[in-house]
C-alpha cells in the first residue's frame, strides 16, 4: 500500500514538474511555474521518506538541513550579477550527488548485472563531468579562471580512457573499486579539460549543457533504482535543457558545436574585433541589453554619426516609444559636433519625429548622467571619447565631450572596434561600466525594440 502511495506521489510530482517547466517558459507565469515545480519536488522528497525500511533518517535530515541552510544562504546573498555562477555551482552539486550515489551503489551491485552496471557507469562519468565542468564554468564567469588553450584531442583521449575503464570494469567480472575511483578521477579531469578552453562569454551555453547532463544523470540514477520520478524528471530536464542550450546558442548567433569545439571561444569572440591590445571590451547581447533598458528609470541615448550612416533614426524613435510604454524616461544627449555637419543629429531625429523637448544639450545632459541608469551610445565615438579630457597629446584634446561614464551603465552600439572621425582609440569602450553591443545600428535597434516589447 505504502509503495503504491509513493508511486502515485511520484506520478503527481512528474505532472507538477511538467506543468512547472511549462509555466516557467512565459514571463507572466514564470514565478508560479517555479513554485509548482518546487511543490512537485517537495512531494517527491516527502514520498521518498515513506520508503519502507529507510535508515539513517537523522543523518539524512541533518544533511538536508545543512544543504538547505547553505542553499538559501547563497541564493539570498548572491549579487544579481553573480547569479549565473551560482546556478553553475548548484548544478555541479547535483552532478556530484549523482556521482556519489554511483560510487556507493557500486559497492552493492552484483558484478554480473551488466545492464545496471552500465547505467551506474553513466551516472558516475556524467555526474563527475558535470561537477568539475560546472565548477570551472563558475570560476570562468567569476573571472577567477583565465582561458587556457587545451588540446581538444587530449580532452577526447581523457573521455576515451574513462569509457574504456568503464567497459573493463563492467566486463571484468570482478569488483574493481579502485578502478571505479579512477573513472571518477578521469571524468573529473575531462570535465575540466572540456570547459577550460571555452570563452567566458559562452559560459551560459555551457552551463545550460552541463545542466542537461545533470538531468541525464538524474535519469540514469532513476533507472538504477527503477524510480519513476528521477527517471522522468531527469528526462524532462535533459531534453528541455538540451533544447534550451540550442536556443541560447542560437540567440547568441552561434552554433553549439562552434562554442564547444572551437578552442578559445573567448579568442574567437575576440576575433569579432572586441579586443585591442591587451584590453578586452566586454560584449553584451540584445536580451541583456533589453532587460537593462526596460528596467531602467532613465535612459539617455547618445547618437553619433553611425546612427546617420545606418539610417537608424526611425528605429531609435521606436525604441524610445517602446521604452516609454514601459515607464522608462528616455532623453537624447546631443553633442554639438556629433555627425558630420552642424545639426546632423537634429535633422535625423526630426525626421523620425523625436520631440524637440527630448533633445538635451551637452552641458545639461552631462549634469543628468549621474542620475541616469543606462546611456546608450549609438554610432558615436569621438564625442564620447574621454581622451578629449585626459590626454593632452590627443588630437581631440580640449573638445568638450559627453561624459557618459558618469552614468550607471553604458551600452555602446557600433559595428566593430573601428575608430571615428578623429581616427583615435576610445578608452570608453574598455571602461568597467561599458558593454559593447556590436552590429549595424539599425539592425541592433530593431532587435532591441522587439526584445523590449516582448518583455
Amino acid at each position: 500500500m505504502i509503495s503504491q502511495i509513493i508511486d502515485i506521489c511520484y506520478l503527481i510530482a512528474v505532472v507538477l514538474f511538467i506543468v512547472g517547466i511549462k509555466l516557467m517558459s512565459h514571463p507572466d507565469s514564470a514565478r508560479k511555474g517555479n513554485s509548482i515545480a518546487l511543490i512537485g519536488m517537495l512531494v517527491a522528497i516527502a514520498a521518498t521518506f515513506l520508503t519502507p525500511g529507510l535508515n539513517n533518517i537523522l543523518l539524512i535530515l541533518v544533511a538536508m538541513a545543512i544543504g538547505t541552510g547553505g542553499g538559501l544562504y547563497y541564493a539570498k546573498s548572491v549579487k544579481m550579477t553573480a547569479m549565473p555562477q551560482l546556478v553553475s555551482f548548484f548544478n555541479g552539486m547535483g552532478g556530484a550527488a549523482a556521482a556519489l550515489i554511483g560510487l556507493v551503489e557500486y559497492g552493492d551491485l552484483p558484478v554480473n548485472e551488466i545492464g545496471k552496471g552500465a547505467v551506474l557507469m553513466a551516472s558516475l562519468i556524467i555526474g563527475s563531468i558535470s561537477f568539475s565542468g560546472s565548477l570551472i564554468a563558475m570560476g570562468k564567469l567569476e573571472g577567477v579562471i583565465k582561458d587556457i588553450r587545451i588540446n581538444k584531442i587530449l580532452a577526447f583521449v581523457l573521455l576515451a580512457i574513462a569509457l574504456v575503464m568503464a567497459f573493463y570494469v563492467l566486463t571484468s567480472g570482478e569488483p574493481q573499486p579502485i578502478l571505479v575511483y579512477g573513472i571518477v578521477l578521469v571524468s573529473l579531469v575531462y570535465g575540466l579539460a572540456f570547459v577550460y578552453p571555452i570563452g567566458g562569454a559562452d559560459m551560459p551555453v555551457v552551463i545550460s549543457l552541463l545542466n542537461a547532463l545533470t538531468g541525464v544523470t538524474a535519469a540514469t540514477t532513476g533507472l538504477l533504482y527503477n524510480n519513476k520520478v528521477m527517471l522522468m524528471g531527469g528526462i524532462l530536464v535533459g531534453s528541455a535543457g538540451l533544447l534550451l542550450t540550442l536556443l541560447m546558442a542560437k540567440a547568441m548567433n552561434r552554433s553549439v558545436a562552434n562554442i564547444l569545439f572551437t578552442s578559445f571561444g573567448g579568442a574567437s569572440a575576440g576575433a569579432s574585433g572586441a579586443d585591442t591590445g591587451d584590453q578586452v571590451a566586454k560584449e553584451i547581447n540584445l536580451y541583456d541589453s533589453s532587460i537593462l533598458l526596460s528596467y531602467a528609470k532613465r535612459v539617455v541615448v547618445v547618437p553619433g554619426y553611425g546612427l546617420a550612416v545606418a539610417q537608424a533614426q526611425h528605429a531609435v524613435h521606436d525604441l524610445e516609444k517602446a521604452l516609454e510604454e514601459k515607464g522608462v524616461e528616455v532623453l537624447y544627449g546631443i553633442h554639438p559636433v556629433a555627425g558630420r555637419m552642424p545639426g546632423h543629429m537634429n535633422v535625423l531625429l526630426a525626421e523620425s519625429d523625436v520631440s524637440y523637448e527630448k533633445l538635451i544639450e551637452m552641458d545639461d545632459i552631462n549634469e543628468k548622467f549621474p542620475s541616469t541608469d543606462v546611456v546608450m551610445v549609438i554610432g558615436a565615438n569621438d564625442v564620447v571619447n574621454p581622451a578629449a579630457n585626459d590626454d593632452p597629446s590627443s588630437p581631440i584634446y580640449g573638445m568638450p565631450i559627453l561624459e557618459v561614464n558618469r552614468a550607471t551603465n553604458v551600452i555602446v552600439i557600433k559595428r566593430g572596434m573601428a575608430s571615428g572621425y578623429a581616427g583615435i582609440e576610445n578608452a570608453l569602450f574598455f571602461d568597467a561600466k561599458t558593454r559593447m553591443l556590436f552590429g549595424d545600428a539599425k539592425k541592433v535597434l530593431t532587435g532591441l525594440v522587439t526584445e523590449v516589447k516582448n518583455m
Binding site: P336, G343, N346
Partner: protein
C-alpha cells in the same frame, strides 16, 4: 468647339491650359487657339502648344474666333465686348465680391463660368481651383516666411551654439492652412494652429500640429465646411487666446476667410508691437483685407521690426505647377461641359448650376439672384 487661351495680364504668370490638357481637348475634336506667348511665364513655350496641335494666334484672333475663352484673371470690358454675346468665358471672377461686374457681364450676353464658384461637393473636387490654388499658397507662404525670417526654422545643436526651432502659428486651417502646417513641420518648425471650426482640430493633429483651442465657436454645418461669422464675445476670447500664441511666434501665417465677407482682423497693431522683432507674418487673406491690421495686399511692409507679407497672388509665383493644377481643374470641368466637341450646359447638374454665373443675358448664379 473652338477654345481660345489668352495670355494673362503682366502680374500673372499662370496660364489657363497646359499643353497636356490642350492635347486631350484637341483629340476630343475641339480646336484650340493660343495667344502668342501665353504660357511663356509658366515656362510653356509656344512650340509646346503647337506640338500638340494648337494654333498660335494673336490676342485679337483668339477673342474673335474662340467660342470659349480662357483667361484666369477677368477679361477687361472692351475685350468682353469684342468677344460678343453668346460666348463662354472661363476664369476666376469672385462673383460674390464683384457683384457689379457680374451684372455687366450678364448684360453683355456672355456666359461666364467662374472657377472659384465651383461647389465644394465631393464630385467637384477635381475642378476645385480654390483647393488647388490654396495648396500652392499654403506651401509658398511658409517658404516666403522662412526666406524672410532672420532665423532658422529647424532646431540645430551645433558647435556654435544651439538654435531653437522657429515657432509657427497658422491661423485658419483650411486647405491653405493645412498645407502651411505640413510645410512648416517639414522644415522643422514647431507648429500651432487655430481655427474657429473645432472639427479641424483632428486634422491639425493629423499633420503633427498643435491646436490652439478657443471654446465656444459657432459652427454651421449648412455652410458646407466654410466658416461663419462669430459672436462678439467669442471674438474677444479668441483674441486673448490668440495674442498669447502670436507674441511668442516667429512666424504667423493667416488664412482666415469667410466667403463673401471682409476677412476678420485677427492680428491687431497692438499685438504686432508685442511680437518679437524679426518675426514674419504672411497674410494669405490679404485680398479680402487681410487678417492682420497692417497688411497691404501684394506688398511687404515692416511694422516695428515685424515683416508683414500680404500675398494673395502666391500661385502666380509658382506658375509651372500652379498652371498644371489650374489647367487640370479646368479640363475636368470641360469634361462635364463638353459633350465631345459640343457645349452641353446642363443646368440640372449641381456643378454647372453652381459655377455658371451669367447666361443668356441674365445672372443665373443663385447666391446673386
Amino acid at each position: 468647339m473652338i477654345l481660345g487661351v489668352l495670355k494673362e495680364p503682366t502680374t500673372e504668370k499662370r496660364v489657363s491650359l497646359h499643353p497636356e490638357a490642350v492635347k486631350a481637348l484637341i483629340s476630343a475634336g475641339n480646336q484650340v487657339l493660343i495667344e502668342t506667348g501665353a504660357g511663356l511665364k509658366a515656362f510653356l513655350a509656344d512650340d509646346l502648344y503647337s506640338a500638340v496641335g494648337a494654333k498660335i494666334v494673336s490676342r485679337i484672333e483668339v477673342i474673335n474666333q474662340a467660342e470659349m475663352i480662357f483667361q484666369i484673371n477677368p477679361l477687361p470690358t472692351n475685350e468682353r465686348a469684342a468677344a460678343g454675346a453668346g460666348k463662354v468665358i472661363i476664369g476666376v471672377y469672385q462673383p460674390l465680391v464683384e457683384r457689379e461686374l457680374m451684372a455687366e457681364i450678364a448684360s453683355q450676353g456672355l456666359t461666364l463660368l467662374s472657377m472659384d464658384a465651383i461647389p465644394r461637393i465631393t464630385r467637384a473636387q477635381s475642378m476645385d481651383v480654390l483647393s488647388s490654388m490654396s495648396t500652392v499658397s499654403g506651401y509658398k507662404a511658409v517658404l516666403l516666411a522662412a526666406a524672410s525670417l532672420p532665423r532658422f526654422f529647424p532646431m540645430l545643436m551645433t558647435a556654435a551654439g544651439t538654435i531653437a526651432p522657429a515657432k509657427v502659428l497658422v491661423i485658419g486651417a483650411g486647405v491653405a492652412g493645412l498645407q502651411a502646417i505640413a510645410t512648416a513641420k517639414r522644415l522643422g518648425g514647431v507648429v500651432e494652429a487655430f481655427d474657429t471650426r473645432a472639427s479641424v482640430k483632428e486634422q491639425v493633429e493629423s499633420l503633427g500640429g498643435k491646436f490652439v483651442e478657443v471654446p465656444g465657436a459657432v459652427e454651421d454645418k449648412a455652410a458646407g465646411g466654410y466658416a461663419v461669422e462669430q459672436s462678439e464675445e467669442y471674438k474677444k476670447k479668441q483674441s486673448e487666446m490668440l495674442e498669447k500664441s502670436i507674441i511668442k511666434s516667429d512666424v504667423v501665417i493667416t488664412t482666415a476667410l469667410i466667403p463673401g465677407r471682409k476677412a476678420p482682423i485677427l492680428i491687431t497693431n497692438e499685438m504686432l508691437v508685442k511680437m518679437k522683432p524679426g518675426a514674419v507674418v504672411v497674410d494669405l487673406a490679404s485680398v479680402n483685407g487681410g487678417n492682420c491690421e497692417g497688411t497691404v495686399d501684394n506688398e511687404t511692409v515692416t511694422i516695428e521690426g515685424v515683416t508683414i507679407i500680404g500675398s494673395s497672388a502666391l500661385p502666380a509665383t509658382m506658375p509651372e505647377d500652379a498652371t498644371k493644377m489650374y489647367s487640370k481643374n479646368v479640363h475636368n470641368l470641360l469634361k462635364l461641359l463638353l459633350n465631345g466637341d459640343k457645349l452641353n450646359l446642363n443646368f440640372e447638374d449641381a456643378i454647372i448650376q453652381g459655377t455658371c454665373i451669367t447666361h443668356g443675358g441674365e445672372i443665373v448664379y443663385a447666391p446673386l439672384k
